[in-house]
Symmetry: D2
Subunit: 116 residues, 4 copies
Amino acid sequence: MALQQLRNAHSDDQMQECIDNCLEAAQVCEWCADACAGEGEDMARCIRLCRDVADIASLHARFMARNSGYHGELGEICADLCEECAEECKQHDHDHCQACAEILPKCAESCREMAA
Amino acid sequence: MALQQLRNAHSDDQMQECIDNCLEAAQVCEWCADACAGEGEDMARCIRLCRDVADIASLHARFMARNSGYHGELGEICADLCEECAEECKQHDHDHCQACAEILPKCAESCREMAA
Amino acid sequence: MALQQLRNAHSDDQMQECIDNCLEAAQVCEWCADACAGEGEDMARCIRLCRDVADIASLHARFMARNSGYHGELGEICADLCEECAEECKQHDHDHCQACAEILPKCAESCREMAA
Amino acid sequence: MALQQLRNAHSDDQMQECIDNCLEAAQVCEWCADACAGEGEDMARCIRLCRDVADIASLHARFMARNSGYHGELGEICADLCEECAEECKQHDHDHCQACAEILPKCAESCREMAA
């Protein structure tokens, strides 16, 4: 990506991969939270966890993009949330839930590595 | 409020009132979006509008708090959203929906005044 | 506050006080980060910490407003950040820095109590 | 991208490209705002505009990701801000400012197309 080349002295490949994973997690969870709102009352826990992931993963990506000293602490919460949300989503057959269940564990893993 | 006294050369009473109204709107919509998720599928439109108000009103308050040159443009979106969300919420008897219907028009009005 | 009366079955006084403290912390840090940008290069650390507090305290208030299961974890980061930012701000004579130094410790304290 | 394949009935190529452009704009502006804080007092306007782009572009991407009815209105503000920020950034030789000046016009263009 052009951005990565322009800033390669500022960041590193591992952090950029984690940023990309967080932004993908935020997108899939915005989709899933929105779609679940129309699926009926059994989806309440899925909506709530997806909203939390969307907020935390977006902010975690921004903290990494500006090299904040607190990105590691936020990354641990992000990893916990992605794992809990993926567990919830994989119990539902909707395509947006299955997309969450597939995408979130990868985000959790790279957040744990960045926070370490 | 202590903060208001400390910064009285920086802001003004009308802007602080609009900030307070936006932050109250964001809170009531976080509550309503969360609670509606457990109320069944008819609440989908309410959840979606409340999520949008919570995001835009929060950011509008922050743009005013830092005197951003773009707070007026964001304020117009915030007013539109608050009005549409209040119209939706007043059709539902849940206490959180009635709280939205009561609080959001006041936020819309002060956002319009600030944007003018 | 009207909102508090409308939702008194949903939240409690301690959480509402913590929400108010976080939103006040976010406002004073938006102001301080904005103003420090015009104060010269020595203020870089202050700008960075104030930006982080503004983001985290705003999101922490929203997580509490919707009773997210992750508000405690976010509250611990918020308390750490408020304390570090207050330490930085109290070294500077600008009125916005002094306002931060006065307001943030109260936010840190209520975040620690909520997270406990 | 895997996410795009999983949700191809939900979104479309043009919107996904706009989401990607907004997220790239948000990242480069987080970097530039952070780095400018250490460059001295002449960078105040750059810091302020970059902060605003980072906030608005991030939220615009999220509104598109969840198909909010208000993404067009937010996209117009995003385009205005990207253009004003790029004008400011191109006057400065720092590599982060030059990266902004290169990346933001592309984001502005796709936001205008999405809002149309």
